[in-house]
Symmetry: C2
Subunit: 302 residues, 2 copies
């Protein structure tokens, strides 16, 4: 696990490398403070959500055959599939464990379990829709609601619960997290095609290479436009796309306004997210921080 | 999951095939009844333990590259690694979920979490000790205490807790399960070398082929006997053993009394298990059933 988190290399030598954005734990803490709780109260859930997220990354990298994570070798490629499966399993159980001894466990544990089940279903949808040339935008949005937004929503709900707030005030924060998660994944999908590998730590155009279904792909693949036809042909054929084919396609999709449409979808979801947040009578200072975080999510390059 | 459990084939056609022994759920139910509870009270834990066990089988078959399970294709080999990883993840979370809504969740959930963490550590030890020509009998016993006995002990403890008994009467049942688990794994290790593939549903001499550390191997590999030397050479070299080498080795180990020594170790652990069971003032009718189950474990061929 230490290798995965970038704390040390596989021989145990200390590293100081990119540990990830810790977005989810930040959301837990800010959601708790938004409803009058303290950062300290939020810690068990911050830990739980970060562990569940990293467990899913460990398993995802095996599933997607991704050799790079945060600019380093992914754990399965550094230490083998067995180590990565078991480290993921242990982190998943650790995430539940982080909540069981903490206050409000009777409310937090079911929220975590349900979010992770939705996450797993979203990831399974993701694998089923790979190379699928018939998927619609709704299919893609369903999938990202599961694989990304469920855990962000869970992060906000858990933080809110640990503040001691009642369900009526927790609900808008869960909705904020869900909409923010949709915005986050739209941005991620833009980076998956047009992101700079130097910043993302992943190969260039990785979603095109692996022919994943993502929001930009779903927007274009049913169109009769030139990139639409090209995409369908590419997703249906047996051989993997070449680097040159990916580059042409990325360029064409951008010229046809697909990139801008997804960026706009991210913006709309982020706006709705902030509206949901403001409906729960939150602490105004914390709202400002959450608004900054939302802006950062939209503008991020990694 | 239905494919894994043998409920249907991968096209959804109904099957009536071997669903596994359900040993762990039987232990939960009998442990609950041993302390005056009903079978009905034990059901949430029976479900939880069976789900956790099957989750670990799904991930183990990937880790060990095992293509056969219960005489059928293992899930990863039938439906791919992604499906098997995610089905295992979902079953792991399902196992916690089965307990959270049930009585005594504050006592049962920590027992399950701790057992599964021990299970995962045992499985990791197992992968580290593969092809290890220096492992001792203690190493092997530590490993099987984690990978097998922890969950059997958990099954008995959970059943006992759901009967409503206090910790003082739960503890001997946990100990019964732990010792029974050691006996179970000793028998499993005998079958892993000398079992009939028709009954086990696994390839013949599978533990020798994959050069796993098991109790019989640990007994022989540090000896200066002929099979000991042969084993060390085989576990150290790069190439996999041939079928003929496995056959010769299995025969020699048996001639040198290794099989009988492991059978005897299983018997001793089973006897101690029954002594632990009898120390908690259990219901005598249920004790008889648990004694029969113990006998079945020692004499099983699958």
């Amino acid at each position: 696990m230490g290798v995965h988190f970038g704390w040390w290399d596989r021989d145990g030598n200390s590293l100081r490398s990119n540990p990830g954005k810790s977005l989810r734990s930040a959301l837990v803490i800010l959601s708790c403070r938004a409803l009058g709780g303290s950062s300290h109260q939020a810690l068990p859930a911050a830990l739980a959500v970060e562990m569940a997220h990293n467990a899913s990354l460990l398993h995802d990298d095996i599933i997607d055959n991704d050799r790079l994570r945060r600019g380093r070798a992914s754990l399965w490629s550094a230490m083998g599939v067995p180590a990565a499966i078991l480290a993921g399993d242990a982190l998943f159980f650790g995430s539940v464990h982080a909540l069981t001894g903490a206050p409000h466990a009777d409310r937090t544990v079911p929220v975590l379990l349900s979010a992770v089940q939705t996450l797993i279903e979203g990831e399974y949808l993701d694998t089923l829709m790979e190379k699928d040339a018939t998927a619609t935008l709704d299919d893609a949005l369903d999938m990202i609601a599961g694989k990304t937004a469920a855990l962000l929503s869970c992060a906000c709900s858990l933080g809110a619960i640990l503040s001691g707030a009642d369900d009526e005030r927790v609900e808008p924060l869960g909705r904020f997290g869900l909409l923010l998660g949709l915005a986050f994944q739209c941005t991620d999908d833009v980076l998956g095609i047009w992101g700079d590998p130097e910043s993302t730590g992943k190969p260039a155009m990785s979603d095109l290479r692996s022919r994943k279904l993502s929001v930009p792909i779903a927007l274009a693949i049913n169109e009769s436009s030139q990139p639409g036809e090209r995409l369908r042909a590419l997703y249906r054929r047996k051989e993997s796309p070449t680097e040159a084919e990916c580059r042409t396609l990325a360029h064409e999709l951008e010229s046809h306004g697909v990139r801008e449409a997804v960026v706009e979808l991210a913006r709309e979801n982020a706006q709705e997210a902030l509206a949901a947040l403001n409906s729960c009578d939150p602490d105004p200072v914390t709202v400002e921080e959450l608004a900054k975080l939302t802006k950062m999510i939209l503008e991020r390059s990694s």
